[in-house]
């Protein structure tokens, strides 16, 4: 039941070597290359065991369709997005499942601006895939492959125009880093040197398997919490495997919810933002933060594709999600954890405050994120039934079912990436959150 391919603008995702394998990767890369304008495809991968073979088959397909390919090797997805923004490529492919645990992997497709594909654009590619008639270049028209290093210097230079890097340098922060043996690992040393950080590393070996699930969250923070305390760090952070998501550990050694990342980034960049996009499944801390910063918040469906394309359509400067994701369009087209981290360091440096002090005025909300396994063939039936059951409360159907009550709100929606229903409940007290949890579980089971 679990072993099915998930095809969406959030990537072609599955367990390797089951639903996702080199053949599927090859066909998607062929479909994508046939869809793109002739030119060059930029490609990268995270450091999962299966990413190398999947990216090799994608390279072969790109070349066969007559497009050139630039292989960045192991690289965070946001860095590939940054490169797409700053170069003339036809599109990008990142082989990475971000926050999913290890047997999973995914093929992410990026447009020439570095954005995730827009839904209709994605459908177009998937239709080329289904039709199966791919462009075939003749022997003397095949693409060429070359390898390229990511220009970190250029990245840091542009980053310095957004933050006050001299203030950050002066602060000499001590930081505990847990990149989860992910694609950001090789860049942390030059990054910390640039910002004069004293970095303490855990899980920083790129060829090793994940030592905990690669999802930045409170549950996965125990190592980072311990190290922050032991080393008296000013801050600790966790990344997912492709460097798009960030969660934090405060100077007190307390893990912050990944929901805190987006509000912190908004506060840090408040002078540069008039409108920001978030999702219906994001904590209301973001509404509180936007309110005090005078930022207008728009809410859309979950996922980088819908958030980014809403940002573009609504001319919003920033956007993000409760998963620890944040994008600032003038800087980069995608969610970028290292950029988010820098914004938070900038905030600490400018305000000369500890992280624990900055978050102390945050509303004290109780939150539960629950995953319920549902067979993929039953998902939509379950959702239909829930819609009926909650219809009297006039739910918000932007994405799944969201119900707002006096003391709490909740959202139930099928995951884009796994065969689960994701439920988030947030409220003023544990009691009201718990009673909603019981109620939902009951309604799903019956």
């Amino acid at each position: 039941m679990e072993d099915r391919l998930r095809i969406s603008v959030s990537g072609v995702r599955g367990k390797v070597p089951g639903a996702l394998n080199v053949e599927v990767a090859s066909q998607f890369a062929s479909a994508f290359s046939s869809y793109l304008e002739k030119g060059t495809v930029a490609l990268c991968r995270d450091c999962r065991e299966s990413s190398r073979m999947l990216s090799l088959s994608a390279i072969s397909s790109v070349l066969a369709s007559g497009l050139d390919c630039i292989d960045y090797g192991r690289l965070p997805t946001p860095f590939l997005q940054f490169s797409l923004r700053n170069s003339k490529f036809s599109g990008g492919i990142s082989v990475s499942a971000g926050h999913n645990p290890s047997p999973w992997n995914a093929i992410l497709l990026l447009n020439q601006e570095g954005h995730y594909l827009e839904a209709a654009e994605g459908n177009n590619v998937f239709n080329v895939y289904e039709a199966g008639s791919f462009d075939k270049a003749a022997w003397n028209q095949l693409g060429h492959i070359s390898k390229k290093e990511f220009p970190l210097d250029a990245y840091l230079k542009i980053l310095s125009s957004v933050v006050d890097s001299s203030e950050i340098r002066k602060a000499k922060f001590k930081i505990t880093a847990d990149p989860c043996n992910g694609a950001v690992s090789p860049f942390l040393k030059p990054y910390s040197e640039f910002f004069n950080l004293k970095m303490v590393y855990i899980n920083n070996e790129i060829d090793q398997p994940f030592s905990h699930p690669p999802e930045p969250s409170i549950e996965n923070s125990s190592q980072a919490q311990a190290v922050v305390k032991a080393t008296n760090s000013d801050l600790g952070f966790l990344l997912n495997s492709d460097g798009s998501r960030l969660s934090l550990v405060s100077d007190k050694g307390a893990a912050l919810s990944e929901e805190s990342t987006l509000p912190l980034c908004l506060i840090s960049l408040k002078k540069n933002i008039t409108t920001a996009v978030s999702t219906v499944a994001t904590s209301s801390i973001v509404d509180w933060a936007a309110d005090i910063c005078g930022i207008k918040i728009l809410k859309t469906r979950v996922g980088q594709s819908s958030v980014c394309h809403t940002m573009i359509a609504e001319r919003a400067e920033a956007g993000g999600e409760g998963s620890g994701s944040f994008a600032f369009l003038p800087f980069s087209p995608g969610y970028d954890s290292l950029f988010s981290l820098t914004l938070i360091l900038d905030l600490m440096a400018k305000q000369r405050k500890k992280l624990s002090e900055i978050i102390s005025p945050f509303p004290d909300l109780v939150r539960k994120k629950i995953k319920i396994k549902v067979s993929p063939v039953k998902t939509y039936r379950v959702m239909d039934q829930l819609e009926d059951k909650y219809s009297k409360e006039h739910p918000d159907f932007t994405d799944g079912i969201r119900v707002d009550r006096k003391k709490a709100w909740f959202i139930i929606r099928p995951s884009l990436t796994e065969f689960i229903l994701r439920i988030m409940i947030e409220g003023q007290d544990l009691e009201s959150v718990n009673s909603i949890e019981e109620e939902i579980k009951e309604r799903i089971e019956t």
Partner: protein, 445 residues
């Protein structure tokens, strides 16, 4: 009747890039090969076709997908890959080359442990894996290893085997034409180490082949010209994967591929070692005469390198080959190898002190006609019967198509495995007789 240019057969997979030979097919074929041959290191080499790089990535991916560890050998002749697989005890090898076929073609040639091609039965089993999609895919793929000096083992073996000082003393002048193929990066330095003065034509890697890569007389006129112009002692031409060798004498005349093999075997038997000789059913009687004269046994096999190689190993034969210029010297490895061929023939020139044309004219004369005629797949058996009925007085062998031997000529008709054609070879001492037999056979069609 519609035929595809894609040829999936016991010889591997072959097709035209941009038409039938897609990365998806190559990927699946590599997955099948990896599943069939088992986990371990697989050497991967290409010739110089521009499509080599695209196909190599698919091969790497397919091998990794089923648990193999690809060893990237870059551009490498197929005999060098075979020698490498054998010497380094690799699990197998894949050569990405369409050999003597034109540049738009490409193919995978599959090598098993020991450095040999798959036997027909093994190839059938591999095809079962491919068609049934029986892939042993793994969750954790390995890494790709890189070999920086892939030609070294092969080269050293030949240099150790050949009496280089004898050759060097003669100060021979050689022109070599590797057709911009897999031998190009290596052949000049190889010959120089044998102690000859070398000029290389068509040695650069370009986008496409400078000539048709099959080393037939009509394709190597530039070599003939160059030999004459520079007053060279001999000219050598290789095909794109460097298993076949053609020779041009000092007057610029191609001696013919059958005589390439004859020169090497003549020399080997008379100056190296008396050993049984193994050749295929289509190979010239010149070799038969040479073997008789040397007093050694001659064994004939079905056409195909693996058949000859296997028989050589079984019988302890050290020298043999195929009449298309495929010289096999088991001292190096039982595979067709243009490099050992060049070395043996140069040593022959040095030891004999004769000119290339003299060595050739000292060999018995035979006229040979080779042709390929169209015949529908379902018509070929009938045609074979017609020919057999017509030539019923000779000694008949049906091991591989139909071979009929008469005292003064022989004919061999063989249906192709992949195309709706039949290959015909007729050989005899008398030109007119051979031509009349040829027209008699054509009448049967």
């Amino acid at each position: 009747m519609r035929t595809s240019d894609l040829k999936i057969s016991i010889s591997g997979i072959r097709g035209i890039v941009g038409q039938s030979l897609t990365p998806q097919l190559i990927l699946k074929f590599s997955e099948a090969f990896s599943s069939f041959i088992g986990e371990g290191e697989i050497g991967v080499a290409t010739d110089t076709r521009p499509s080599g790089s695209m196909l190599k990535y698919a091969v790497f991916s397919g091998l990794l997908s089923c648990g193999a560890i690809p060893v990237d050998m870059g551009i490498l002749p197929i005999p060098s890959l075979q020698v490498y697989v054998k010497s380094k005890h690799l699990r197998g090898g894949i050569s990405i080359t369409a050999s003597h076929n034109p540049v738009e073609w490409n193919a995978l040639k599959l090598i098993k442990n020991g450095g040999f091609f798959l036997s027909p039965y093994e190839a059938e089993e591999l095809l079962d894996y491919y068609y049934q999609g029986r892939f042993k895919r793994v969750a954790q793929s390995g890494i790709i290893k890189k070999e920086g000096h892939p030609f070294q083992i092969h080269e050293t073996k030949i240099l150790d085997f050949i009496q280089g000082d004898l050759i060097a003393n003669k100060q021979l002048k050689v022109i070599v034409d590797p057709c911009g193929g897999a031998a190009s990066p290596y052949v000049k330095s190889f010959l120089e180490q044998l102690g000859v003065e070398v000029k290389c034509i068509n040695c650069g890697l370009s986008n496409g082949f400078p000539r048709n890569p099959e080393p037939l007389p009509q394709n190597i006129t530039a070599l003939s010209e160059s030999v004459k112009k520079h007053g060279a002692d001999i000219g050598f031409a290789q095909d794109a994967d460097a298993d076949r060798l053609a020779v041009v004498d000092e007057k610029g005349s191609p001696i013919g591929e059958e005589y390439t093999l004859a020169l090497a075997i003549q020399y080997y038997l008379n100056h190296k070692q008396k050993t049984p000789v193994v050749i295929n059913l289509s190979t010239s009687r010149v070799i038969q005469d040479i073997s008789e004269k040397a007093g050694v046994e001659l064994i004939r096999t079905k056409v195909g390198e693996i058949n000859v190689s296997k028989k050589m190993l079984d019988t302890g034969s050290k020298i043999g080959g195929e009449g298309n210029g495929g010289i096999i010297a088991a001292d190096i490895h039982a595979c067709r190898d243009s490099f050992v061929g060049m070395a043996l023939i140069l040593e022959y020139l040095a030891v004999s002190g004769k000119k290339t044309s003299q060595l050739k004219s000292a060999l018995p004369y035979y006229k040979m006609i080779k042709d390929k005629i169209k015949a529908n797949f379902n018509d070929r058996k009938r045609i074979l019967h017609l020919i057999q009925a017509k030539f019923d007085q000779g000694q008949t062998n049906t091991e591989d198509g139909l071979k009929v031997e008469y005292p003064d000529f022989w004919l061999h008709v063989r249906p192709s495995n992949t195309e709706p054609v039949m290959r015909i070879i007729i050989e005899g001492k008398n030109d007119r007789l051979v031509e009349s037999i040829y027209s008699e056979i054509k009448e049967c069609l």
